[in-house]
Amino acid sequence: MSDQQDVTFTVNGDERVIRVEPRRSLADALREDCGLTGTHLGCEHGICGACTVLVDDQPVRSCLMFAVQAEGARVRTVEGLAAGDKLHPMQQAFWDNHGLQCGFCTPGFLMLAVSILERDPNIAEPELREALSSNLCRCTGYQNILKSVLAGAAEMRK
């Protein structure tokens, strides 16, 4: 398939221009054209949420969005969370609270959690649980993910 298109967007604050087929997903563009492999693909049909990134601060399944739809958008991925060597409070909370095991779902959960808390820093636990049910994890049984996000939320509110 040809008819490649240019897409101009920012990823973690850096302006990028990539040339992609219209059918290329945002996830593939991030992973292959931008070299950002922290965004993982678990199902490629929008259920597992491992590929969650933030587009203009909204969490999206990057496997279900075409790269060309990101024209002009501000994309944030897991690689952009830490400030240099200093982990984002949510990353630190996942580390402190054993919020990950194999780590495959972790980037998606981190981006989802950060977006939920940026939107509503004081979200109540039942609503948080509901929102975090957007993504799948197969290792942790979710208990330590919830614990991590609650701890990360407290830190983000400081």
Binding site: C48, L87, Q91, W95, D96, C102, S133, L136
Partner: protein, 770 residues
Amino acid sequence: MRWIGRPLPRYEDPVLLQGRGRYTADLAQGARILRYLRSPVARGRILTVSAPPKISMITAADLGDVKPICPRLDRSDYVPVAQPVLADDRVTYVGEPIAAVIAGAAAEAEDLAEQVTVEIDAETPVVTLDQALAPDAPLVHEAAAQNTLIDARFETAGVAAAFTSAHQVVEFTLTSRRQSAVPLETRGAVATFDAATGRVTLSASTQMPHLLRTGIADALGIPESELRVATPEVGGGFGQKMPLVPEYVVAVWAARRFACTVAWLEDRLENLTASFHARDQRLYLRGAFDAEGRLLAIDADVLCNVGAYSNFPATCGVEPLMALADMPGPYRVPEYRARARGITTNTCPMAPYRGVSRPVITAAMERLMDCAAARLGLEPLEIRRRNLASEFPHTSVTGVIHDPGSYREAMESAARIVDLTQFRARQQTARAAGRWLGLGLSVFAERTGPGTPAFAARRMVMTPGFERVELAMDPSGFLEARIGSSPHGQGLKTTLAQLIADEIGIAPKQIRVVAGDTDRTPYGWGTFASRSLVIAGGACKLAAATLRERLQSVASQILEAAASDIEISDGRALVRGTDLLVEVGQLARAAYHQSHRFPAIAETGLAAVATYDPYGTFSNACHVAIVAVDIATGQVEIERFVVVEDAGRLINPMIVEGQIHGGVAQGIANALYENVVYDDAGNLLTGSLADYLVPTMSEIPRIEIQHLETLTEASVTGAKGVGEGGTIGAPAAVLNAVSDALAPFGVGIFEMPITPQRILHLLREAGCKA
């Protein structure tokens, strides 16, 4: 400072948290992409496979003398069957690889695959156990009469007499529907040919890197030294990533044939269709009890639908033979008869899945206990008190030796935590108000860290068991531990560093654990059977003790004291009772750079190796589930889930609890949600995660954990394995709880998953009009 017992944050995590972990798919940049053409029908004869000439396609004909995969057991009741790497003449399940195409990119490979034409003369498949066992059933494999790949039996002399003399006989058939492990990262492989050495490096998402090297080298007929398997980060496995798979063999073959890098990255549909399934079992169980509720005998007939082929190296015997050997669990069972069969069908092959048979046999035994208790008017707690083994070592009727555990104590403790008496009162009140609460117990033994004796008893031709560890300290005093086991999310690099740190007297951050790379690590069996902490951990402790002695000998010479007076802790060697000391880093430097002073060390190096091969050890636990069942919708809500677990000495309690949480979540999923469904033609109906219901945070309750710590000599570290217990125990607790809730309607649960539809069906059958 002691490191064992501390919830040390994992060394694995910072990289993973920042998206810098490298999983197999992350290594595929620039690779040519393999895409498999898979059988669209469950059974039939291949007539033609054709593609336009410009397409680079691989079929069975191209693979020449690549050998089929043929896992073996040394048993007369087992029929070996050979799985061609690509289907040649016949297809035997939907999803079986028939051909592969190669392209520059994944999307292009999918485009090309669509241009391949496969003509198959489809035949009526054998999908279910009943179809496979019908007298006139077509044979999946000519060699396997009655579609039986393994037919194992066990019987003690007094079974018939025990049933004759029984006060109560309880019997039922329990069905476990097919499930899939669904690791969040699918399978994948990147194979790179190196023209300079002629070797291939295979990066693959596997739990058994050395066995993968052996299996592929054998299939291709090459020395193992021509292949390096390097396992990057693995996004979960749960057993599904143990077996040798045809797709990896073809990837290595193609890398050699075309002298390039090729990648196969499985998509989720392929994973659900053509990776491995498990737990498709039907179990008839009959128990004989005396008037006091003591078990006199059990009689079991276990049928496992093991799919189209046997997996390598565990074989399709893994489910039936585990059921046969471990059915009695932690109970005293004087007389035992069992038949356990692996039945082949035109469905995706079975592989070990976390718990292997024990989630099903535990559900059966625990349902048996509850049913017998109800007949005899006993509390479920009381009938278990009368039957649990309490003297250790306990040798089961099948000869399995259980080291000391806390079966009874765990149960009593769990009952106290949930306050059984108070619950029964609340249950009565709720029933009067039309709210249906239930409490279910599950008491079980989890065999962990089995060594070669356990697998030799199963008569595996490839007998897993030992683990070898190599420790080497460099001149800066930094220690590298090279292990044969291969973790994939269990935090083993942290846990083993804690073990080694205490044994030597250095900080865990001074230790790097290297795993998964066959060029760098001693031959080992990988991670499964809750074995890595027990066996690789045991080997680490033994090797570390030797290395400590070597450091002590260097220190004794430098400090001019007897080696027996040297104590190493916090990275320093000091002469006991004095302030004479030397840093471990200085010892290391001296050992390397002034080796003439230490001839004994010059001979061994500042290194140590050890191999550990234990009999195995049993963890134990009691799970309690409290549920509310909505009889209008069939919905089950888990109000409370309590685990009292005894995994021996806890090295890193945080990691242990993480294993329990994750295991219980999978067990609850097995009990309530997950089900691989085929139609009558053998087509998979659950090919997406919208159909195969992996639970989310909304479905999994908070899991309350209490630890007991029985120290055992069956494990040199005192630690028992803990990887599978959650999954083994949870289904039984949930099934018993739902049965308890529905007892007023005369409904008992003997199937999993017990979905809302099934609950409503059972209630309707029982005449409930709610």
